[in-house]
Symmetry: D2
Subunit: 151 residues, 4 copies
Amino acid sequence: MTSQELRAFVIDFFNNKMPFNQLLGFTVSHLHSEHVEITLVWDDKLMGNPVHKILHGGVTAAILDTVGSLAALIYGINGLTDENAVKAFYQQLPDGGTLDMRVDYLRPGKGDEFVATAQVIRRGNKIAVCRMDLHNHNQLHIATGTGTYVI
Amino acid sequence: MTSQELRAFVIDFFNNKMPFNQLLGFTVSHLHSEHVEITLVWDDKLMGNPVHKILHGGVTAAILDTVGSLAALIYGINGLTDENAVKAFYQQLPDGGTLDMRVDYLRPGKGDEFVATAQVIRRGNKIAVCRMDLHNHNQLHIATGTGTYVI
Amino acid sequence: MTSQELRAFVIDFFNNKMPFNQLLGFTVSHLHSEHVEITLVWDDKLMGNPVHKILHGGVTAAILDTVGSLAALIYGINGLTDENAVKAFYQQLPDGGTLDMRVDYLRPGKGDEFVATAQVIRRGNKIAVCRMDLHNHNQLHIATGTGTYVI
Amino acid sequence: MTSQELRAFVIDFFNNKMPFNQLLGFTVSHLHSEHVEITLVWDDKLMGNPVHKILHGGVTAAILDTVGSLAALIYGINGLTDENAVKAFYQQLPDGGTLDMRVDYLRPGKGDEFVATAQVIRRGNKIAVCRMDLHNHNQLHIATGTGTYVI
């Protein structure tokens, strides 16, 4: 399995095999060590507050956790030899990997489309710390977060 | 509107008028100042990790945010005169009210049913801090969180 | 080295060998797995705000971090055989062990004396999550925190 | 009082009138809306861990809280008319203003000198969210944090 094939495999896994990602409509749109990105198109089912038509805070938390765990995962499996990579991937599936997360809600979650990005800011043997951000299609900064992940 | 009617109104709003709560299957099961509780029955669509069959971390974050915001909201509208209560409720709808939240994932989110509870631990004029917990049907402590809310 | 001797050793280390603990006046007053406690007597040098005479937020953060790391450490070295305990203690000295911490400032830090306590709420092989609280001599809840520690 | 005089007044207050800042040796080295900076020279009294000679985690938390509160304060008093500015400053003294803070310890706190910086990332009427960073004299990223402040 080449690194390109592994990337395609992970993207397929997140987009098509993780039921909650599909339920919410998350799409992994970039997956490289230095640029991990998930996009989300507005859907009325994602509203918390129907009066103001904004994303439920749980959607924001979910997409930040997911993009952060993906960044930690990619960092963790990066550089593995081919035969170990898939095994490592399965062992490090991200939901089990989040230790804790902080989310700051900066602006109401309004928009036609949203983009979540993540960067690894601490790179230990076992632990990664990621910073995550959510912007809408107008580049408004909706939320930011910090997550600690086991890798 | 009596306080009993207001409580019924808020429960109905959270259970039936907030689309994301319905999508996930959240049910407000207790709503008193000292005991706020949301229950969630396992559904495969809530899985993050299909290998281990555990809740997506975003579901955990969403239910903790929701139960915390509900506790802050109930505290905030408590003691309002009847005519002001509904207006206050609409102005303080919880998604807009979360400033920030920390979630700690203590154990894998396995279970047939989950119960999220919240307590207000800081009671200011404008700001409430809540502590939230998620247990499964076996009383295993799945997650804990702390949230800061505008009330 | 008996477990009683190890406890005395750790208490002496925190109270007398960690310069910043001495500078601030921290005293470890209880050290058991289920009850870890640090006391602090008011001193004007600990003020942040001389107008209102309250503790600097950094003092609150420092005592919460310290009591949490102590709880994690005691949990980590608990049950070690005698010959491994001191070695383990040195390897796990707490400042290097904090991954992240959240502090919530609930009330102004006023008081003649303060008591910080901690409980371990997640007990993994490598990671402990602790909840910490700070009260003053009148049992007022000054602050709460959550910390993630490598053990 | 001109804005230049107010800046000098705030710097003097933080550097010379806040006892805990003096105890630790914090020096406000830049104070503009877009660039707030506190420097700290290594001193053995700031050690948590004398074995590894690193900063106590509480020092890191204290300097991050202080630089974040300063950034929030400067944003808050910016643009005030002269006669209101000093009064507002006294009423908004920063220690009372921190609601909550997360600190992530990224690397051991080693260095001859440390620089803490802060940016305001949410600018509400009453609430500011700041991101804070601590680097050593070699530009190594020691810690990062996020704080929520009442302004």
